[in-house]
Symmetry: C2
Subunit: 340 residues, 2 copies
């Protein structure tokens, strides 16, 4: 691999398509000199978008044709079987063929998982990709997985997530021994379910920096580097948090809009409200990694804007630089060899 980092961009995925992906690509190219992007999608649509933004292809930004589009509500199975020339499939193919080092898509999550798993294959010991993302926290941020790819996870699955999450945080954040916690409940006598208790036992047998149980509020207020949970639980924790954050900010906005007096106060408080808004800008945290694959696949939010999509590209670049799949693979091999 040369010094160049090549990232394939599915330009047709998400709610907005190339109108977000092209400006995001320009932003990312500007930030990282080593980056080369491949715009994957329908040639005429891309040509029109390039024209609209008065941009021309060059040796750092090339195009790769793909004629089909996976829609947001399409069945993952059908997307996998029937749409072999979709921008999503072709982007993943480019990673498999070694033409790209990573790919980024804002398309249908289920389809992206199914296609990535089929094309790139899983690392030994991993059944399905796990979705990991960085979330804001009082102490900086926390990586959390799985965010919805795996339901009914066994203790062994949770251990797999812990290994992968730890390696990702280690590589991308340069933390030597990231602290890893298991998400659990502590309210009552049962103290969690069987899988979590067994996973805790398994984790104490690894050389991970296992830090015990985390409760729900620790995601945002604790100082764990990685928090591990089943995908059903993780998805609901993430979405309910997004919901409450939205409710809080909307209520604040409405409170400031009530009267001329409060609108004046809002005007004076504008710099504060702006910095507050920036701190919680979901775009800063956009870009979830599909871990456990033999290649790098980043999922951008379907409604991400250009700066947010650029952030997802940036995550892809960092994972290429740190060779995350190789790091995860060698760590998995080490732990699983002890099981045998």
């Amino acid at each position: 691999m040369s010094d160049r980092i090549t990232v394939a961009l599915d330009t047709m995925g998400g709610d907005t398509g190339p109108d977000v992906v092209l400006p995001a690509a320009l932003k990312a190219l500007n930030k990282c000199e080593r980056l080369h992007v491949i715009l994957v999608g329908q040639e005429e649509v891309l040509a029109a978008t390039l024209k609209k933004y008065s941009v021309e292809l060059n040796d750092r930004m090339t195009m790769y044709p793909a004629n089909e589009i996976v829609t947001m509500d399409e069945s993952p199975v059908l997307a996998l079987r029937k749409k072999k020339d979709s921008s999503m499939r072709v982007s993943v193919n480019l990673v498999d063929e070694g033409i790209a080092d990573a790919c980024v898509s804002a398309g249908n999550t289920g389809a992206l998982m199914a296609i990535s798993r089929f094309v790139l294959k899983m690392l030994p010991g991993i059944d399905r990709p796990a979705i990991i993302s960085r979330l804001p926290s009082a102490s900086g941020h926390t990586y959390m997985l799985d965010l919805g790819a795996n339901v009914d996870s066994s203790a062994e699955h949770l251990r797999g997530f812990a290994i992968m999450g730890s390696e990702l945080a280690c590589a991308v954040e340069n933390i030597k021994a990231p602290s890893v916690a298991l998400l659990n409940i502590g309210e009552e006598d049962i103290k969690g379910n069987e899988q979590v208790r067994e996973a805790a036992r398994l984790l104490t047998e690894t050389d991970l920096n296992y830090a015990g149980f985390a409760e729900g509020d620790d995601i945002f207020l604790g100082d764990f580097d990685v928090i591990v949970c089943d995908g059903f639980v993780g998805n609901i924790a993430l979405k309910s948090s997004e919901g409450v954050a939205k409710l809080v900010t909307t209520t604040l906005k409405e409170a400031f809009e009530q009267s001329i007096f409060t609108r004046t106060a809002a005007l004076l408080a504008l710099p504060v409200l702006k910095s507050f808004k920036k701190a919680f800008d979901p775009g800063r945290y956009n870009g979830a990694s599909l871990l456990g694959l033999r290649g790098i696949v980043i999922k951008s939010h379907g409604s991400a804007d250009a700066p947010a999509f650029a952030n997802a590209i940036d995550i892809a670049v960092r994972e290429v630089e740190k060779q995350v799949p190789q790091a995860v693979s060698s760590k998995l091999e080490k732990v699983l060899s002890k099981d045998r």
Copy 2:
């Protein structure tokens, strides 16, 4: 039952004990003329607290001695077996004996559940109490259960929660046919777990107003009256939401404290910030019901202040007025008789 509503108050539970419970009782007595409270706890401690607040016992506020205290970190099994004269146990006993119509405790949740279940017994078809609470939402509020009492809930358990939650919302909120949703994930191809899918099938066979699946953000942004989930999932959704709400408000506060300029802006924005804070005051939502018991038991938050504890007493009063256990019992009987 006379017009009088008698509520036993565990004065020794929670982080603060009678210093919160007594002022809360006075506040609640002031609000509801029919209310009579029984202060349950150590006589000398209660006498000292009454003296401190210059309050005397009267025919609406009596005392009932209980010499032991269940601590916040005590094993529920030990609390049940060994502390038969605890303020928590005696409070629940008073409900069982018909001396009180309901009880409120801010003590150890696990112990309160174990004691309530042992003393009051469960309604037919229910194994364990479910914890339900009202949460703020964009459209007003939503009842959510189970919040941590039951892990690994089966489809039949989830149906039981749906019946109980629907009856509570119906009785306390005067909603004729509360809309009931099942908490699920929609991100990917699996679309939830087996139990939730089977529960959805069971719910379509009842005469509940079953409204389909809710995702995590619908708790705070949707307009369902009741959202049903497993206790592990519910507890984590609740706590992670509390965490993010706290993070958001702390960040806002810090932003306003940055400089003289922002502090001046904060001063001007004070009325707005106050109304904002009030809207998210956890005290307004304090008081979770333990549903499925043959009596009314309300759990107040361990760190609740007096207005928040008064809110929990208020919930007890409303449940007595509406005879919630009887309403739940007859609804359960109706649905379960079809199973046979």
